[in-house]
Amino acid sequence: MKPELELKLQAYVDGELSAREARDVETAIANDAEAQGLLRELQTTTAVLRQNEPQLAVPESREFYWSKIERAIEQTEREPVRPLVAFWFSLRRVLVPAAGLALVLFLAIASFKVNTTSDPLSHLAEVESLSEHVSSFSFRSHSHNMFVVWLHENTEQQASADMEPEFDDEILQ
């Protein structure tokens, strides 16, 4: 049986064919015992799998499993800024504008601090090629404060030096 017909049979079982294509398949296999046998096998396998998906349980207690999730959430979260409007408006004193001004100053300073990170590992990155036709390599230029990801197509000439950009020696060290 031709591979194209086999895949068409499968698509027929999966409802991925148009009505016309489905009719063509039915015609093609009408007198083909081998194709009909394969069709039955595909249908049976699909039915067996769908009706009998393996059921598994997490091999950890509820509390232990949840505790790790809760810890991870707490680590990733900052304290949310609660809606202050109702609280501020309840204080009808001079403290209110002063506190508002203090909040503006605090946010301005906090914003400045976050943006000037001194994390020594801030240059590390994870780069992944998502296509089998494209590869990538990456590097960081310290002197020019630039992180580069270079993409290149996987061709037979890939190894050729002509395809690679020439880089400053300083960067490669």
Partner: protein, 200 residues
């Protein structure tokens, strides 16, 4: 705040709404309710208990971070399953680069092997208890390569269309069809061989 018992009585929709407003206990109830399903999905793809636990927990953390984006277009568990599937696919792609492929798996990848498998004439699970069938399916899944197992899980258990599977696996529809065809044929033959072993 509602107690654990009260939360247990609420439907998913209500729990999600509470969790979206920051109710961590409501989210904990969702986790308790659906953790097995999410873990099972992860395990079916990565076939390693520790990795499946880690990935499923990562999925829950991600779900908490993105909960506000969940608008109810699908059920909560469907939305969660998509998250864990994407994490598993990322995990498998990274692991693929380091995996030493067996010769059998390379045969699978090169294609054509499935045409040498005899057509299975009978239902190889007929007469078996459900638990036994599930065990055999689980055993057979473990014998597929990760690409074939993934496409099978996404199609048969998640019931995604070819196009959707291709998008998630970042391959062509043709590749999805070939892999699915191989995976199904191999599953049928494995289940038949388990039955033959049992009878002999």
């Amino acid at each position: 705040m509602a107690t654990q018992q009260e939360h247990a009585a609420l439907g998913d929709e209500k729990l999600v709404r509470l969790a979206q407003r920051g109710d961590m206990r409501a989210f904990e109830e969702l986790v308790a309710r659906h953790r097995d399903k999410i873990y099972a999905r992860a395990f079916s793809m990565v076939r390693n208990e520790d990795d499946a636990v880690d990935l499923s927990q990562e999925a829950w953390v991600k779900a908490w971070q993105r909960l506000k984006q969940f608008q109810g277009e699908s059920s909560f568990v469907t939305w969660m399953t998509r998250i864990v599937i994407n994490l598993c696919l990322d995990h498998l792609r990274k692991a693929k680069r380091h995996r030493a492929e067996s010769i059998e798996m390379m045969d699978e990848e090169s294609g054509g092997v499935e045409r040498q498998m005899p057509v299975v004439q009978i239902n190889p699970t007929e007469g078996l208890e459900r638990g036994e069938i599930r065990q055999r399916i689980d055993k057979a899944l473990g014998q597929l390569s990760y690409e074939h197992r993934t496409v099978l899980v996404l199609h048969e258990f998640e019931q995604l269309e070819y196009k959707e599977i291709a998008k998630r696996m970042q391959c062509s529809i043709g590749t999805v069809m070939s892999r699915l065809f191989y995976a199904r044929r191999r599953m049928a033959n494995l289940l038949a061989s388990f039955k033959r072993d049992e009878l002999s």
